[in-house]
């Protein structure tokens, strides 16, 4: 049973446009959400996070939106750059549930930004 779902295996956008990556979750105990970026042959790197007490968090070109009622979050990248081409993983945790900060990951979305 997949608790974190990234239904789009891949996404292709033009440089300068907006990239929107989506993520859905089923576990209502999740209260902390993160996005990781992964280049080939490297480990994932932390990108941005959001707590369930917020509905938006912004860091430069990256913004994460959280819709708790829909159990949905999205990552917006504006403007997209070729260097953003990577696999993006959505992850979730239940901090209030004593999860020991274990993360549950989605399958990832491969973003390709075309020059």
């Amino acid at each position: 049973d997949q608790q974190v779902k990234q239904n789009s295996p891949s996404l292709s956008v033009q440089e300068g446009r907006i990239s929107i990556l989506n993520c859905d979750y089923t576990n209502s105990m999740f209260d902390y959400f993160l996005w990781y970026k992964k280049y080939p042959a490297e480990g994932p790197t932390f990108l941005i996070s959001i707590s369930s007490i917020k509905d938006k968090n912004e860091d430069g070109r990256f913004t994460v939106f959280l819709n708790k009622s829909a159990k949905h979050l999205s990552l917006h990248i504006v403007p997209s750059q070729p260097g953003d081409s990577a696999v993006y993983f959505c992850a979730a945790s239940s901090l209030s549930g004593g999860s020991n900060y274990k993360l549950t990951f989605g399958k990832g979305t491969l973003l390709t930004v075309n020059p």
Partner: protein
């Protein structure tokens, strides 16, 4: 500042062989984790540790063992390698709720 270091980067094992994947972090993080990533799949938690001397099973622990004798080291042991253990293995560490720092991975093939 090395972060999380994993060795080896690549390994080919024969069925039934054993090996240890090494993981060391120099950030004094209490929490450490082992994940595996199969093609087209997300990362699945194998084992984790909340501090030296404390380990616990994750989602897919069968066929693996871990130990945490120091804060820095969290080795993952495969006792009897099977083809189903062919995967990329990532070690990670964290300080409380801050995001994980991952190692660069170990690509293991069991033939």
């Amino acid at each position: 500042n090395a972060g999380v270091t994993q060795t080896p980067k690549f390994r080919i094992l024969k069925i039934g062989q054993s090996m240890t994947l090494q993981c060391t972090q120099d950030m004094n993080h209490n929490y450490m984790y082992w994940y595996r990533q199969d093609p087209g799949m997300g990362l699945k938690l194998i084992y984790y540790s909340v501090g030296a001397g404390i380990t616990d099973k994750g989602e897919v622990p069968n066929g693996y063992n871990v130990s945490r004798s120091t804060t820095e080291d969290f080795p993952l042991r495969l006792e009897l390698a099977a083809p189903s253990q062919t995967s990329v293995y990532f070690c990670a560490s964290s300080y409380a709720s801050q995001g994980y720092t991952f190692g660069s991975g170990t690509r293991l093939t069991v033939v």
